[in-house]
């Protein structure tokens, strides 16, 4: 597993006009490793399972456990898988270079979100504000008993 710094450099290094299948595989792999970094930082062991044919989606699912705000990158992961399919299933399509460039940006967004979230844990919490309710903080209720 590469470090987040190495993954940032790896995203920059992807050439969108070279072999599109190689680029798509590298970007998908980067996405998986970004998620692995998150899971390892939370003392987890990254899964080798797949979900809907993608390890990326299984890793996202694993990363979401006990942290609903992590769902703020759910669609980013799904878009990454979608663009991987678009590129690899029809690499000769005229739109492939454009699609690879877009996949690079989606991969970058996933990297930015998760690396940002590792620095500031609450990134994404604004979006998923049901989290505190789900975690049922008893102390909060007890404090309000005296209201």
């Amino acid at each position: 597993m590469r470090t987040l710094f190495e993954l940032e450099q790896a995203i920059d290094a992807v050439k969108v006009d070279d072999d599109p299948v190689v680029a798509a595989e590298e970007l998908l792999s980067i996405g998986e490793e970004v998620l692995e970094n998150w899971i390892v930082a939370k003392d987890g062991v990254p899964t080798d399972e797949t979900r809907e044919g993608f390890r990326l989606l299984a890793l996202h699912r694993q990363g979401t456990k006990n942290d609903p705000s992590f769902n703020a990158c759910r669609e980013t992961c799904r878009e990454l898988a979608y663009y991987f399919n678009l590129i690899t299933l029809d690499p000769d399509a005229t739109a492939t270079t454009n699609r690879t460039a877009m996949m690079k940006m989606i991969s970058n967004h996933l990297y930015l979100f998760i690396s940002g979230k590792l620095q500031v844990a609450q990134l994404g919490d604004f979006c998923c504000s049901a989290k505190p309710i789900r975690m049922a903080d008893q102390d909060n209720t007890q404090e309000l008993e005296g209201v």
Partner: protein, 311 residues
């Protein structure tokens, strides 16, 4: 006219704090569009903050109470059965309060206690339906109704529709979404796409339409927010968009401000304009740019709007 269309002709309007400040153009354009479409907006009396950000971190149940108070006033003092909130934060929090008051006894108890202390009737789940401005126009007027009313087509304008992360998440607080034909999708939202297409715009395929803009950390971690926004702007540009259409004041302000910050901090200028969907709809309906607050935006879109024959 469907039952829903009839129900949404007159709704309680909850603008929320952002629409009185940085999102004023959204407030102005929402009201102007409502008036133009003959829809009646009745502002919630003496409304309060929904508890969007800070309060949640102090105590989430106070946030639930604050949102419930808005719904209580609409239901019990104004006799309204629909609250329309154009801000994603307000919309999200009212929906979350509704969910919690339906499913969490502790929330019900706390809201009841605080409501009695504050001297107003306790909101009971189900008294009002909370909707977003997108639901409001989509159901009250619909695409066909809009097409009939368009005087100034958005034809030739390529739009990336950006919904942000709060409009569809978490999924369980939006039980009306993902209900098949005609309902909104939480994974691929499309209501804004539908409305702007009806007004003549060409929607581009935009994969970051629900991605995080880093809005909540714009002050505490500005560089991360700027990089996230820069990536959204780049993706919109790559997708061929002239404009990013927004439906959330936090996203909108973030996109506008970090677009400028990206240029100053990272030396990268991405020339894509940012407009509220209500501003675009308003102009399509024949309203002047000033009437929908285009002059209040930071993003300078007038040259583009003139070039496209919209302004």
């Amino acid at each position: 006219m469907t039952d829903k269309a009839e129900k949404y002709q007159r709704v309680a309007y909850y603008p929320g704090c952002a629409l009185e400040g940085t999102g004023h153009a959204y407030n102005r354009s929402t009201k102007a569009v409502g008036k133009k479409l003959g829809l009646d907006l009745v502002e919630v009396d003496n409304w309060n903050c929904c508890g969007a950000m800070e309060v949640k971190n102090v105590d989430p149940k106070i946030q639930t109470y604050l949102s419930s108070r808005v719904m209580s006033i609409a239901a019990n003092e104004m006799d309204m059965d629909v609250v329309m909130a154009p801000c994603n934060g307000c919309y999200h929090n009212l929906k979350k309060a509704e969910y919690d008051l339906t499913n969490d006894d502790q929330s019900v108890a706390v809201v009841d206690k605080l409501s009695k202390k504050a001297g107003h009737k306790t909101y009971e789940s189900g008294q009002v339906e909370t909707i977003h401005a997108l639901d409001w126009i989509k159901d009250a007027i619909g695409e066909d109704g809009l097409r009939e009313r368009v005087k100034n087509s958005l034809s030739g304008l390529k739009v990336a529709n950006y919904y942000g992360c709060m409009y569809t998440r978490p999924r369980h607080i939006f039980p009306e979404k993902d209900q098949g034909n005609g309902s909104e999708s939480t994974s691929k939202p499309h209501f804004m796409d539908d409305l702007l297409a009806a007004a003549g715009a060409e929607n581009v395929d935009f994969p970051l339409k629900t991605a995080c803009c880093g809005g909540a950390h714009t002050l505490s971690d500005s560089d991360t927010s700027t990089k996230l926004v820069l990536n959204i702007l780049r993706a919109a540009k790559l997708s061929g968009a002239d404009v990013i259409a927004t439906e959330c004041p936090t996203c909108h302000s973030g996109l506008e401000m970090h677009q400028i910050r990206a240029e100053k901090k990272f030396g990268e200028k991405v020339d894509v304009k940012i407009l509220y969907f209500t501003q675009l709809l308003g102009m399509a309906l024949g309203l002047k740019p000033r009437k929908v607050g285009v002059h209040e935006n930071i993003s300078k879109s007038m040259p583009l709007l003139k070039e496209k024959g919209i302004a």
